[in-house]
Amino acid sequence: MIKFENVSKSYGESKVLKDLSFQINQGDFVVLIGPSGCGKTTTLRTINRLIEPDSGTIYIDGNDISALNPVELRRSIGYVIQQIGLFPNMTVEENIAVVPKLLKYPKEKWQPIVKDLLGLVGMPYDENAHKYPSELSGGQQQRIGVLRALAASPPIVLMDEPFGALDPITREALQEEVKRIQKKLKKTIVFVTHDMDEALKMADVIVFMSGGKILQMASPEELLQHPADPLISEFMGKHRGTVNINANLTAADFMKTRVLKASGSMQTLQSVELMRNRDVNSMIVLNEDDTYAGTVSLDTIKTHGKAGRAIGEFMETGVPTVNLKEDARETFEKLYTSPAGYVVVLNDDMSVAGLITKTSMAKAMGEALWGEMIS
């Protein structure tokens, strides 16, 4: 548990944090959001004492952190930054193992950790451990950045706009991975972003800041239902409709990979908001292990759903599925007999690879016939 008590910080004349008091519960995914310069990064960096407040106290599990050794404190808290900051002179393995090594773990202890963690993000050890960061894509680099933060099993991980520099597809993949890891490893994550879509998707609790103060601290549902300030509504409005759902079509296959997925425990309101944001009318529901469970549609939730219920209760399983390697003809037939108007594409391990709609199919075929189309 992290507790802020009347924390203030100024740089010269400007007050950056104004008497902040709030509390983060163990195991929560807390997202700090707000306009640029509102103090998100400053708040985050006071937690691992990269910044010392002028007044006030921060407690972690009841201990006043100003009394702790800052170096030891930081080793017990994961830290991920937007610029990634993997050490370019170290391999992937060395980067991940850097904190365990600082803590003097023997090799027999840290090497299995590195292997496990790489497995967690689907990057096989043998292929990746001995690469240098410059040999990885941006998304892979930030996966390693996240793993480095997790390596010494810190109960708390701080992330400052970790996906801000990634392209939308990679960003979405990492959001899902981090959310899954957080649930699996039961971490407390404090996550800074200025993307409302990201906040809605990841957060258990959203802390909306402005001018060094907290305007509202609430669950995504609550924030959507009762925004406490016009600025918050505006912020959510601004992030509506910025998503181009057709951007990911490739001619090689007909599927789009950018699909809305969520665990069956997501709250109905939150899922409705996500679907509206994306301008889609259904989303995919996943099992705990990320395999495909079913779908849920906006209409069903509207007619039967009540606020506060989990979307798993309204899930349908009638939408046809195809394997990633299914040939186009079969897929086409399934698509045209699908009552929902789309089919779900699954990987060999039954995780969701994407989906094919009539539009995406038609567009891909058009491209195959007439070359690149302007959308």
């Binding site: 370019p88 391999t91 600082l102 240098y132």
Partner: protein
């Protein structure tokens, strides 16, 4: 006597001068490193001192070698010692400059990450800053070495020996063979050492940093 005959007839002398030349260069570059690298690290920690020290070192560099040798002669007399002192002074600046800029130009995000995950200042220096600055530091050593090889020819003037001895003898007696016997090896030494250090520089640069400037 052709040049080749001259080389063969005087091989002992030439070899002796060559070895002495290597000694002059080796010792003064080593001394330069011992001074410049710690000083460069110090300046990167306390950057307010950097301009004054770097300017001072730059000023020394602009004093003509002969003048410096003259001073050294007055202070230390004739022989090896004054030559080594002067050459070491000249060797300092390129290494100092490259150590300082190599460290201070390490991208701030690496330092931020290093501090954020719990490295101490010393660990940040040894595990992050120095490895990333290493290529630049070795580049400075290479420059120093090439300079010192040529400056060392002046050392013959104050009785420190080396290939310069042969050149000065040649100049004094209008004997081109002597001049060439000093000049050719010193040119070769400069090129060979420079190439060698360049190889080392490439060898010690981790694969992840190739094509990335530190």
């Amino acid at each position: 006597m052709t040049l080749i005959e001259f080389f063969i007839a005087n091989q002992k002398d030439i070899l002796g001068s060559l070895i002495r030349h290597f000694q002059l260069v080796g010792i003064s570059v080593a001394a330069g490193m011992l001074i410049a690298i710690p000083l460069g690290i110090f300046l990167s920690r306390f950057q307010r001192f950097a301009p004054i020290i770097l300017n001072f070192a730059g000023m020394i560099q602009t004093i003509p070698g002969l003048v410096m040798l003259g001073f050294a002669l007055l202070l230390f007399g004739i022989g090896l010692l004054p030559a080594l002192v002067v050459l070491s002074l000249y060797a300092v600046l390129p290494i100092l400059h490259n150590t300082y800029t190599g460290i201070t130009e390490v991208e701030k995000s690496y330092i931020e990450a290093a501090r954020g995950i719990g490295m101490t200042d010393g660990q940040i220096l040894y595990k992050v800053e120095l490895p990333l600055a290493l290529s630049s530091i070795v580049g400075g050593i290479r420059t120093s070495t090439v300079f010192t090889v040529s400056w060392a020819t002046l050392a013959g003037l104050i009785g420190a020996g080396g290939l310069g001895d042969l050149i000065w003898t040649g100049l004094a007696t209008y004997n081109t063979n002597y001049i060439l016997a000093g000049a050719i090896p010193s040119a070769v030494v400069a090129v060979v050492l420079s190439g060698l250090i360049h190889l080392i520089q490439k060898k010690i640069t981790p694969r992840g940093l190739k094509g990335v400037s530190a």
